[in-house]
Amino acid sequence: MPEQQPYEPERAIAGTGMGGQMDLGASEAVTLEKTPGGPEGTGPQDKPRSLWSDAWHDLRRNPVFIISALVILFLIVISIWPSLIASGSPLKCDLAKAQEGSQSGHPFGFNGQGCDVYTRTVYGARTSVAVGVLATLGVAVLGSVLGGLAGFFGGAGDAVLSRITDVFFAIPVVLGGLVLLSVITSNTVWPVIGFIVLLGWPQISRIARGSVITAKQNDYVQAARALGASNSRLLLRHIAPNAIAPVIVVATIALGTYISLEATLSFLGVGLKPPSVSWGIDISAAAPYVRNAPHALLWPSGALAITVLAFIMLGDAVRDALDPKLR
């Protein structure tokens, strides 16, 4: 089993990765102590497993992973076929029913415009899942390619890229979103996704860079290089598989925060705008009526919180499975 270097996604999320290394001696001791035995329940007769099958072995037995994966599966299904569980249209509203509470056929009641809160909450999942998944894919690909190349080749390109990531970290995200998205009139998810990719890649790039730098010092990489492997072969066959774990962990956790960011931007009026259906829009629209119709605020908020929670818990579970140090 390849030995994992210590990494802390929680620190990475804050965008900090510089400076003093803490107590390396102790953490190495912990790693060594923990790795040889493998996870509990593995007898010595088991054949040695790769990091990935080891992680999968752990994940299948982790209730947190199973629950969050089921929630996410459900969200993906209803974002593709919302009509499976909601028959009406999210845009069919009846002002006469504005702010009315729960009644038969309309379990969540009506919002300030008399739209059915249940239908809108179901349809809102599509926006969140689309933004989360697509933005994460974009960020992960862009960030790991740039960071990976910079980490592998080093030199001037690396120095420039590191300064560029520093620049992006210095700009508050919500603020950047307000400035950039306030001019865009297109009412689709694409500008929001583009913005998140633009401001999100430095986070992944920093992780990927560090992880590639660690991986390329390994003996098997030196050996492959000595045998005459080309740079592309080194990167793709030897470094990438061993450096990608931290990227996956951070990206999964980031997915949840991107969903939250989309809702925040829509809440501020610069993400998606009506008539698009988004939890952020619905929460923002319900805020003024909160005294009379709190349900219109609570249901989309709850759906949003559960979605973000599911992705963050999934990321947590994946991290625990991929990082032997935490066992």
Binding site: E8, E10, R11, I13, A14, G15, T16, M18, G19, G20, M22, D23, G25, A26, S27, A29, V30, R163, I164, D166, V167, F168, F169, A170, I171, P172, V173, V174, L175, G176, L178, V179, L180, S182, V183, G256, S260, A263, T264, F267, L268, I283, A287, V290, R291, P294, L297, S301, L304, A305, I306, V308, L309, I312, M313, D316
Partner: protein, 307 residues
């Protein structure tokens, strides 16, 4: 130490230029500021041209940027389009946001670290699992939802606080907004402290400290905490900039007239100078906070020496 500080200060220059240039470019695609000035009507072309010349908007972007930065370093942040100097807006907005940030940081330090130490020392016990779940929930609920819910419960339903903060924004009224602003970071601080404490608790120096008979509280405060707080200090330090910039949402919910409010107004009204001015200051705060954090390392961890 002196040389290290100088080197770090020099490193800050490209980041500062890059970040301000980036925001300057972003603001420049924000649309025509003159159009915003005329309100809903179409501008008179002659007036527009004259205003454009007056504000220097007929020059190329890079030249506008240089002129602007030149002015900033002489303390002139320009005037908002309503004729009020931007520095005057800053004078009223920054004290409010700084108070809000102080409260948020205090919450992070006091509540976050205490919870982190308590759970880190009791890893796997019910109290640990409970707090861990709670932090996950807090991280998952976006700040604007937390804010609206607390406003609904404490302000509207129970009447403990005023739902909106008055324009003077004294500390007393900023406690709940400060908690909202801190909430997500608070959860991160708790988790970070917990991980760090749990990890260092198994280290040799803690075993040695216990073996030589030090009382438990002394082992924890003097040996364990001091070593475990290094990543936490990093997080809190870099969070200062993020909190001040992220206060937009909180300030909007509680109607606080701070930096976030001014920025939001500036962006809505396409008020270039206000937006760039405030962001420039925020970027500076972020960079200085990072520098201070790096210097604090040496204080917390004597093994780290800056040549």
């Amino acid at each position: 130490m002196g040389r290290y500080v100088v080197r770090r200060l020099l490193q800050m220059i490209p980041v500062f230029i890059g970040a301000t240039l980036l925001i300057f470019l972003m603001v420049n695609v924000m649309g025509d500021p003159i159009a915003g000035l005329c309100g809903d009507r179409e501008c008179d072309p002659a007036t527009a041209a004259q205003l454009r010349h007056e504000f220097g908007l007929d020059q190329p972007v890079w030249q506008q940027y240089l002129t602007y930065m030149g002015n900033v370093f002489t303390g002139d942040f320009g005037t908002a389009f309503n004729g009020q100097p931007v520095t005057e807006l800053m004078g009223t907005a920054f004290p409010v946001t700084i108070r809000l940030t102080i409260i948020a940081i205090l919450f992070e330090i006091v509540v976050g670290i205490v919870l982190g130490v308590v759970t880190g020392l009791r890893r796997g016990r019910p109290v640990d699992t409970g707090v861990l779940l709670l932090t996950l929930v807090v991280i998952s609920v976006p700040t604007f939802v937390t804010g609206l819910l607390l406003q609904l419960l404490l302000g509207v339903k129970w009447g403990w606080i005023d739902p909106a903060v008055s324009s003077e924004a004294p500390f007393r009224e900023l406690i709940v907004p400060g908690l909202v602003l801190a909430s997500v970071s608070l959860a991160y601080v708790t988790r970070l402290t917990r991980t760090s404490i749990a990890e260092n608790r198994r280290s040799d120096y803690v075993r040695t400290a216990i073996a030589k008979g030090l009382p438990r509280h002394r082992v924890i405060t003097r040996h364990l905490l001091r070593n475990s707080l290094i990543p936490v200090v990093t997080f809190i330090g870099t969070d200062i900039g993020a909190l001040m910039g992220g206060a937009i949402v909180t300030e909007r919910i509680f109607n606080i007239h701070g930096v976030g409010y001014q920025l939001y107004q500036g962006i809505l009204r396409q008020n270039t100078q206000t937006v760039v001015g405030f962001v420039t200051v925020l970027v500076l705060v972020f960079l200085v906070a990072n520098l201070v954090v790096d210097l604090l390392y040496a204080v917390l961890d004597p093994r780290i020496r800056y040549a």
